[in-house]
């Protein structure tokens, strides 16, 4: 890839596409399944969709979190599901699978692989995800106070309300729209109209927060000629970038997401309008921030899958945004889609990909 220098998008060195996507039904709990038992059906579905066998895959990359599992090196158990013997070319990110997809994309761009299997999974049900996520905070000044993920999102929501960019009714309408869209998504955990609920941490109500649940997702990437053999209408990755902001919430403008905007610029998102945006906004208020940062107009279908407000399997929800956007292109429902994933408190880290179909 050419150096990006002044910040403009660069044309990737190889044509890479998402050729298959699968996800589990996302459920509040899955006690009857270990992680690998939960994951394996989606691995088989993407392989079946492409006709590939595990031995055909050039590179495998996964995303998950030991803190969710409550166990060290938890991803090694899930590796059983991909057939890791004889040895395979494999890597793991302790992040959402969207970043595993980024690593796989880079691996293919360098020419070291022509196909890649990317998967991620998370079971929030064994622990308290609000407490678990405090462990990603600054350990000196913040984590000792145990501010949970809803509390931090609520600070951001109040900042938006104070700035006049949202009110509680506007947030509730985002929740309504998302869960209405999710009625068409058989995998979603929360579908259809429901009351806004009580405050969890004011100004965020139950309805403004994502459901807690378990789930997994998998994607297959391919390059060049392989793409045509594997998929009738591939979702070409036209660009992808991820950026991060300062760790300390107090130095950031919580009503904006400059890292999303910068990632989108580098991914080429602003070169032409998109028709679809799958945004990883676990809280209603974060969709307000992202719509502004990504300059999404009213004509864009935002989260037609229902988004993270309908299903938020931690560590997979970002990869699912890429998968949902790609699947929409596969089905011919979108020609140019933006997919976004986030990690960290209040949209600290953001990844943006631009996917296109051929007309």
């Amino acid at each position: 890839m050419a150096p990006t220098g002044s910040g403009g998008p660069a044309r990737p060195a190889r044509d890479v596409a998402i050729v298959a996507f699968a996800q589990t039904d996302h459920l509040r709990r899955t006690d009857e399944l270990s992680e690998v038992e939960m994951l394996m059906p989606v691995l088989h579905r993407v392989l079946d969709a492409t006709g590939l066998k595990t031995s055909d895959i050039g590179f495998t990359c996964s995303g998950s979190s030991d803190y969710l599992a409550g166990r060290a090196f938890s991803f090694t158990m899930a590796l059983d599901g991909v057939g890791a013997w004889p040895p395979i070319s494999e890597s793991h990110v302790e992040m959402d699978g969207a970043w595993a997809l980024y690593e796989a994309w880079v691996k293919i761009l360098t020419g070291e692989a022509d196909t890649a299997l990317v998967y991620s999974y998370g079971k929030s049900s064994p622990g308290e995800v609000r407490d678990v996520l405090t462990r990603q905070l600054d350990p000196y000044y913040v984590a000792p106070l145990w501010p949970d993920s809803v509390a931090l999102a609520a600070l951001q929501a109040q900042a938006l309300i104070d700035a006049g960019e949202a009110d509680e009714a506007a947030l509730a309408s985002i929740a309504d729209r998302s869960r209405a869209s999710a009625t068409a998504n058989p995998h979603a955990q929360v579908r259809g109209s429901r009351p806004p609920g009580d405050y969890v941490v004011r100004p965020l109500r139950t309805g403004d927060c994502p459901p807690v649940g378990d789930g997994a997702a998998a994607v297959i990437l391919a390059a060049g000629d392989r793409v045509r053999e594997l998929c009738a209408r591939p979702a070409w990755i036209r660009g992808m970038d991820h950026r991060i902001e300062a760790h300390s919430l107090g130095v950031r403008d919580l009503t904006d997401s400059p890292s999303s905007r910068l990632a989108a610029t580098h991914a080429g998102a602003f070169e032409r309008p998109v028709d679809t945006a799958e945004l990883h906004a676990p809280f209603t208020s974060q969709e307000v921030v992202l719509r502004k940062a990504l300059k999404l107009g009213d004509g864009v279908a935002v989260n037609p899958s229902g988004g993270a407000l309908a299903a938020n399997p931690v560590m997979a929800a970002g990869l699912i945004r890429l998968g949902e956007a790609a699947a929409r292109i596969h089905r011919g429902e979108s020609d140019r889609a933006l997919a976004h994933a986030t990690s960290g408190p209040c949209l600290q880290q953001n990844l943006v990909a631009v996917l296109e179909g051929e007309s």
């Binding site: 270990s34 059983d80 991909v82 407490d131 913040v142 760790h247 107090g250 130095v251 919580l254």
Partner: protein, 319 residues
């Protein structure tokens, strides 16, 4: 061959707890020692803004920053969130507001709790001051919380050397997470069978290998395993080691032998302790069987069966 019956699903509490011991750099050390002395320090960036809490590198330019200044213990709420149900470890055990507070003299917000009677008593722009903890050790929790404070901003930012007697150079940050762990279908079935003194593996539908303990997947084929197969009870020592260091909380005399044991019919070896034979007489090929203690849910150890040793050819693939 039949699919495994639905096992009684196992669940157990799992507590992960660790006291993280962290060292502080010069800036964090000065800040946290300052809190112990009721002094709030910030750091000035090259562009002249004051960061509180202070960091060692400018978040914009990444330049090293060391110029400490003292700011006020009063400030202004920049954003807030009312927390009706405090969780374990949070600063107050009654409903409170999370706040970002820009202390007088600072250009950034400090995250903490605000003690207020209710959400109607909190708004962005309100004036607050630090309520110090009675016992202070040099930690962010030396600020017990913020409390409402009438009064304007009249604080001068003054340079500070960052020097204190008896600098705090580290913190211990205890972390505890509670889980309810469930091992899933395959492992639940295995553990439930063990408590009935049966060792049950699962056979891969493709390569036919029998996995013990089963985890629900064949790692070679990447396929779900379902067909349950009873293995053992006897098996063969495929390899072993002699343990000479006593593990804490483990009531086993050293030296003892820890071995890989291929149970009859299993496609791979599991591991267990060998007893009932002097440690220096254990050998590859030794035939062993499990020994259960009363009420034990798994074999306590394996002991020699007295059979002749297995021929190397019969277990060499399982080492």
């Amino acid at each position: 061959m039949t699919a495994a019956p639905s096992p009684d699903l196992l669940r157990a509490p799992l507590v992960v707890e660790f006291p993280f011991t962290r060292s502080l750099g010069p800036v964090q050390s000065a800040f946290l020692t300052g809190l112990r002395e009721r002094t709030v320090l910030g750091v000035r960036t090259g562009a002249g803004s004051v960061l509180v809490p202070p960091v060692e590198y400018d978040p914009v330019t990444a330049a090293e920053i060391r110029e400490l200044v003292e700011v006020a213990s009063t400030g202004t709420v920049t954003t807030w969130a009312w927390n009706p149900s405090p969780r374990r470890g949070q600063p107050l055990d009654r409903p409170f507001a999370w706040v970002l507070v820009q202390l007088d003299g600072a250009d950034t917000g400090l995250l903490h709790a605000l003690d207020a009677p209710g959400p109607d008593a909190v708004h962005s722009g309100m004036r607050v001051r630090i309520r110090w903890a009675g016992q202070r050790t040099g930690a962010i929790t030396d600020i017990a919380c913020f409390e409402p404070h009438e009064g304007g901003e009249d604080h001068e930012v003054t340079p500070h050397s960052g020097e204190f007697e008896d600098l705090v150079t580290g913190i211990v940050a205890p972390a505890r997470l509670d889980y309810t762990y469930s091992p899933g279908r395959a492992q639940s079935a295995y553990i439930n069978s063990l408590s009935a003194r049966k060792t049950v593996g699962e056979r891969c539908p493709s390569c036919r290998k029998v996995y013990v303990p089963p985890r629900g997947a064949c790692p070679t084929c990447g396929l779900a395993t379902q067909e349950r197969v009873e293995v053992g009870p006897a098996g063969t020592v495929t390899t072993y080691c002699i343990v000479n260091i006593k593990a804490r909380n483990l009531d086993i005399e050293v030296p003892y032998v820890y071995a890989h044991i291929a149970l009859d019919g299993a496609g791979l070896a599991l591991h267990g302790r060998i007893g009932g034979i002097p440690y220096d007489q254990v050998r590859m090929g030794l035939r062993v069987e499990p020994v259960w203690t009363d009420g034990g849910r798994y074999p306590d150890h394996y002991r020699p069966t007295g059979e002749p040793d297995a021929d190397y050819e019969t277990y060499k693939e399982l080492i």
